[in-house]
C-alpha cells in the first residue's frame, strides 16, 4: 500500500505534465487503493491485527507505531474502495486543468492525501495518529486550493484549514488528558490509563473527542466548512473528502469513545442522537435550498453524517444501558450506512464532476436536458440519487432500514428518557429520508431532464471513458452493497465486537438471501425485492407490447395550454421546485424575498424584466461564527492599540512590569 501511493506521489512529482504525469498519478492511486483494500480485507476477515513499529522515527513520543485492528481495517478498506474509482476518474478529469494549474502538485498531493488517510486508522500511538491526521488535513487543504483562481476558493480553504486545526487542537487535548497518567502514548497504555480516569475526566475526554472529530465529520455546529470546501475542490477530491475523510471523524470518535474509554454513561448516546438528528434535519433542509450542485451534495453529506451519528448515539445509549446486543447492532448499522454513503455520495460527486467537466458550471438554474448530452452520467447519477434517497433495491434503503430496525428496541426500553428520544430519532430519520428524496428529485430532474437552460448545457458532451468507468465501478458498488447486506453486516459487527463490553459471539444477520435482525424483529430480503421488481417490469412491458396498439409513437411538442412556443425560461427551475418546502419550513429559513419589476417604458402592462432575489438565513454562520469572529477582531484592535508607536508608552509598560513584579515580591515574600 505504501508502495502504491508512494509511487503515485513521486511519479506525479517527477513526471512532466501531460498524459504520462496524470497516468502515473492515477496508477499510483489505483495500486495503493487495491493494496489498501486487500490489507483491510485480510485483517477484517482474517482477524489477525497487523502491526509495524518504527521506533527511530518520532522517537520523542514512543516512535512511529502502526497497528491495524478490525475497526481500523474497515476504514482502511473504505479508503481503498474509493481510491480506485476516483483514481480512474481523476485520470481524465484532471486533463481540463492542463494549462491552468500545476498537475504535478495535484497528482502528488492526491497520492499523499490517500496515503495519510489510509494510515490514520492504522496509527497506534497519539503522535503518529495526530501526524497522519494533520497530514491528511494539510494535503486536502492543498487539494482544495488547486483551483486557486476561483474567487471563493481561498476563503473556503481558509475556513477549512481553520476548522480542521481547531478540531485537531480539541482532539489533541482529549488524547493528552488520556496520556497524562499513562507511561507512554501508545493506545494500549491509554486503554489501561483510561480505566483509572475519574468520571469527570472521562466525560471531558469524550466531549473533546466529540468536538474535535465532530468538526472533521461535519456535525452541525461545526459543519460550516463542509459546504464551502467540498465544492471548491476538484470533483474526485471532493468525492474522496465527502466519501471517506468525514468518516475518519467517525473513526476517531469510535476509537476514543468505544475503544479507549470503553463506552460511558447513557447521556453520551443521547447527546450524539441529538446532534445527529439536528445535523440530519439542518443538512437536508439546506441541501433542498441549494442551487449549486456540489453544495447540495455537500449539505447532504452533513445530513447522512447526522444519520450515522444517530446510529452511533443509539449504540452508545444501549451500551450505557448495558443492552450490549442492541448496541452492537446499532454500531454495525451506523458503520454500514457510512460505507453506503461513501459509495453513493462519491458516485454523485463524480457525476457532478462530469457535469462540471462538460458544462463548466455547477449552477443548476443554468443546466437542464443533460440526459441527451451525457446519457451515461445521467444514468449513474440516477443510480446515486435512488441510493441516497433510500429507495428499495439499492444500498441506501438497506442501511436506512437497518438504522430504523436498530432504533426499534430503544422504544421499548424502560429507561425514562430513552423512549421519547428514540421516537424523535425515528421521526427525524423518516423526515430526512422523505426530504432527501424530494431533494434528489430536484437535483436529478432539474439538472438532467427537460430543456437545456443555457447554451453550455445544450452542447454538453459525454465525459471521457475513464470518468465513466470510475462512475460505473461505484454504481456497481451501490447495487452490490445493497444486495450483499447479509454478508457485510456480520463482518462489521465482528470489527466492533472486541471493544467495550460488546458481545464477542457476533449475532447472525439472517442467512442466504434474506436479511433479518438478530432479535428476530423483522425480516427483509433486498435481493428478492430487486428480483421481483425486475420480473414485474419485464412482465408489464411484455403485456403492453402484446396487447397495446400497433401505433408508432408520435413525437410532438409539449402541451403548451394554448402557448405556441416552449422556451426553457418557462420551465420549473431548482428554486421554483424547492419553493413549496421553503414556504413550509419558513420558520427555519426566514426567507427574504424582493421582487424588482421594471415595466416597459410605453405601458404599465408590459414588463421589461423581473428580478426575483431570495435569501435564506444561514443560522450557524450568522449567529455562531460571526459573533465569534467579531469578538476576536475587537480584542485584536484593543491589543493593537498597545503598539501605539510612542516610545514613552513602551517604556512605561517596561517600568510597570518591573514595579509590578517588585510589589508582588514585597507583598508575597513566600
Amino acid at each position: 500500500m505504501l508502495g502504491g501511493y508512494g509511487v503515485g506521489a513521486v511519479g506525479a512529482l517527477l513526471m512532466p505534465g501531460g498524459r504520462a504525469g496524470r497516468g502515473i498519478a492515477a496508477f499510483g492511486m489505483v495500486w495503493g487503493g487495491a493494496a489498501g483494500l486487500a490489507l483491510s480485507l485480510q485483517v477484517l476477515l482474517g482477524g489477525a491485527a497487523f502491526t509495524l513499529e518504527v521506533p527511530t522515527l518520532l522517537s520523542i513520543a514512543d516512535g512511529l507505531a502502526f497497528r491495524l485492528d478490525a475497526l481500523g481495517a474497515f476504514f482502511l478498506g473504505l479508503v481503498g474502495l474509493l481510491a480506485i474509482p476516483c483514481g480512474v476518474y481523476g485520470f481524465e478529469y484532471v486533463g481540463a486543468y492542463e494549462g491552468r494549474y500545476s498537475l504535478r502538485l495535484l497528482g502528488a498531493m492526491l497520492n499523499m492525501f490517500l496515503l495519510t488517510m489510509s494510515l490514520v486508522p492504522c496509527a497506534d500511538n497519539v503522535l503518529t495518529f495526530l501526524l497522519m491526521w494533520e497530514g491528511m488535513s494539510l494535503t486536502s487543504y492543498f487539494l482544495v486550493l488547486t483551483e486557486a483562481d476561483e474567487p471563493d476558493t481561498i476563503a473556503a480553504a481558509g475556513w477549512y484549514l481553520a476548522m480542521t486545526h481547531v478540531g485537531l487542537a480539541l482532539a489533541l487535548a482529549g488524547f493528552l488528558i488520556l496520556a497524562a497518567n499513562a507511561t507512554t502514548t501508545a493506545f494500549g497504555d491509554l486503554r489501561t490509563a483510561a480505566a483509572s480516569l475519574t468520571p469527570a475526566m472521562r466525560n471531558t475526554v469524550f466531549l473533546l473527542a466529540l468536538a474535535g472529530f465532530g468538526s472533521k465529520a461535519g456535525i452541525v455546529p461545526l459543519h460550516v466548512w463542509l459546504p464551502r470546501a467540498h465544492p471548491a475542490a476538484p470533483s474526485h477530491v471532493s468525492a474522496l473528502m465527502s466519501g471517506v475523510m468525514i468518516k475518519l471523524g467517525v473513526y476517531g470518535l469510535l476509537r476514543i469513545g468505544l475503544d479507549l474509554l470503553g463506552g460511558g454513561p447513557a447521556w453520551w448516546g443521547a447527546l450524539l442522537i441529538g446532534l445527529g438528528a439536528l445535523s440530519a434535519v439542518v443538512g437536508v433542509l439546506y441541501a433542498l435550498m441549494e442551487n449549486d450542485l456540489k453544495r447540495l451534495l455537500a449539505y447532504s453529506s452533513v445530513e447522512n453524517i447526522g444519520l450515522v451519528f444517530i446510529g452511533l448515539g443509539a449504540g452508545f445509549l444501549f451500551l450505557g444501558l448495558d443492552a450490549t446486543a442492541a448496541a452492537l447492532v446499532a454500531f454495525a448499522a451506523a458503520l454500514y450506512h457510512a460505507l453506503n454513503h461513501a459509495a453513493f455520495k462519491s458516485l454523485l460527486f463524480l457525476g457532478a464532476g462530469s457535469v462540471l467537466h462538460a458544462t463548466r458550471t455547477r449552477d443548476m438554474n443554468r443546466l437542464g436536458g443533460l440526459i441527451r448530452g451525457l446519457p451515461w452520467t445521467a444514468a449513474f447519477f440516477l443510480v446515486g440519487a435512488l441510493a441516497i434517497a433510500g429507495l428499495p433495491p439499492l444500498n441506501g434503503f438497506v442501511s436506512e432500514w437497518l438504522l430504523f430496525q436498530s432504533l426499534l428496541p430503544g422504544i421499548e426500553s424502560r429507561a425514562p428518557m430513552v423512549a421519547p428520544l428514540m421516537t424523535l430519532a425515528v421521526s427525524v430519520l423518516a423526515l430526512t429520508a422523505g426530504l432527501a428524496a424530494a431533494g434528489f428529485v430536484k437535483a436529478f430532474g432539474i439538472t438532467f431532464l427537460a430543456i437545456p437552460r443555457s447554451p453550455a448545457a445544450e452542447c454538453a458532451h459525454e465525459a471521457p471513458v475513464s470518468m465513466r468507468v470510475g462512475m460505473g465501478i461505484l454504481a456497481v458498488a451501490c447495487a452490490v452493497f445493497g444486495l450483499a447486506a447479509v454478508v457485510v453486516m456480520p463482518a462489521l459487527a465482528a470489527a466492533l465486537a472486541g471493544s467495550a463490553r460488546l458481545p464477542v459471539p457476533v449475532p447472525g444477520f439472517g442467512s442466504g438471501v434474506s436479511l433479518s435482525m438478530p432479535s428476530g424483529f423483522a425480516r427483509m430480503s433486498p435481493t428478492l425485492v430487486a428480483l421481483g421488481l425486475i420480473l414485474i417490469t419485464g412482465a408489464a412491458w411484455l403485456v403492453v407490447r402484446l396487447f397495446a396498439s400497433r401505433w408508432p409513437v408520435r413525437v410532438s411538442a409539449t402541451w403548451g395550454c394554448g402557448r405556441v412556443v416552449q422556451t426553457p425560461r418557462m420551465e420549473y427551475t431548482s428554486t421554483a421546485f424547492a419553493e413549496p418546502l421553503r414556504r413550509v419550513f419558513a420558520e427555519l429559513y426566514r426567507p427574504t424575498q424582493d421582487l424588482s419589476i421594471d415595466f416597459h417604458p410605453e405601458s404599465r402592462y408590459f414588463v421589461q424584466s423581473i428580478e426575483y432575489r431570495s435569501e435564506i438565513v444561514p443560522w450557524f454562520e450568522r449567529y455562531l461564527y460571526a459573533p465569534l469572529v467579531t469578538r476576536v477582531r475587537r480584542w485584536s484592535i484593543w491589543v493593537r492599540a498597545l503598539q501605539s508607536g510612542s516610545a514613552h508608552a513602551y517604556l512605561t509598560y517596561l517600568v510597570i512590569a518591573l514595579l509590578g513584579l517588585l510589589t508582588l515580591l514585597i507583598v508575597r515574600p513566600g
Binding site: 508607536g645 514613552h648 518591573l658 514585597i666
Partner: protein, 218 residues
C-alpha cells in the same frame, strides 16, 4: 572609624540622588548636563572614599576612569550636542514638575521598601546608602518615561548607570575590576551610539522630540 565612613558614604549617595532630582525640577537641558556632571563627580568621590576606607586600591582606578569619563568627556559631548540643536527649553513634559517630584518621592520610598532585605543582610558600613541608590535607579527610569526630548532620555539612561554603579559600590565595595572596566566601556559605547542616533533623528525629523516618532504602529 566605621561610623565616619558610613556617614560619608550616606552623604555622598544622598547628594547623588539630589542631583538626579534636579532633572525633574529644572526645564533647561544645560541644567541637566550640569547636574549629570556634578553627580558623576560626587559618585567618583564616593568610590574613592570606599576605596580608601575599604583599603581596596583598585577602586581608585575605577573612581579615576569614572571621573574622567562621566565627569568630563560625556558632559562635553552633551554640551556640543545641545549647542548643535540650539533647543533651550524642554517642552511641556508628560508630567508637570510638581507631580513628577511627588512621584519621584514615592519611587524613593518604594526603593527603600524593595531594598529592605538587602540592608538587613549586609554587614558593610555602607549598607545604609543602598536604598538611595535604588531610589536613583527608579527616579532615572521615571525621567526617561516622562521627558519628551531625546537628549533628556539619554541623560536619564546615564543616570540609571550611575545609580547602578553606586549600588554596586555600596553593596559590594565594587565588582571585580575587569568587569567594572568592561561595563564602563560598554556605557561609553552605548552613549556614542545614542549620540549618533540623536544626530540622525535631528537630521530626518528636524527636531529631537521623541513624540514625533510614532509612525510605526500596529
Amino acid at each position: 572609624m566605621d561610623s565616619l565612613f558610613s556617614q560619608l558614604s550616606v552623604l555622598g549617595s544622598s547628594l547623588v540622588l539630589l542631583f538626579g532630582l534636579i532633572l525633574l525640577w529644572r526645564r533647561g537641558i544645560s541644567a541637566y548636563v550640569g547636574a549629570f556632571a556634578a553627580q558623576s563627580m560626587v559618585l567618583s568621590a564616593v568610590i574613592a572614599i570606599v576605596g580608601y576606607f575599604g583599603n581596596d586600591h583598585e577602586l581608585y582606578w575605577v573612581a579615576g576612569t569614572l571621573f574622567l569619563l562621566k565627569g568630563l568627556v560625556i558632559p562635553r559631548l552633551l554640551r556640543r550636542m545641545e549647542r548643535r540643536f540650539a533647543v533651550e527649553r524642554e517642552m511641556e513634559p508628560y508630567v508637570n514638575t510638581a507631580s513628577s517630584l511627588v512621584v519621584s518621592g514615592l519611587l524613593v520610598l518604594f526603593g527603600y521598601m524593595v531594598t529592605r532585605p538587602l540592608v538587613g543582610l549586609s554587614q558593610l558600613p555602607t549598607r545604609a546608602g543602598m536604598p538611595l541608590a535604588m531610589g536613583l535607579v527608579l527616579v532615572s527610569l521615571f525621567v526617561v518615561i516622562s521627558r519628551k526630548k531625546a537628549l533628556t532620555q539619554v541623560i536619564g539612561f546615564l543616570m540609571l548607570e550611575n545609580g547602578l554603579a553606586l549600588l554596586a559600590v555600596l553593596g559590594t565595595y565594587g565588582i571585580p575590576l575587569i568587569v567594572e572596566l568592561g561595563v564602563a566601556l560598554d556605557v561609553l559605547m552605548g552613549f556614542l551610539v545614542m549620540q549618533i542616533f540623536v544626530y540622525r533623528i535631528h537630521e530626518t525629523f528636524e527636531s529631537i522630540d521623541v513624540e514625533q516618532l510614532n509612525r510605526l504602529r500596529y
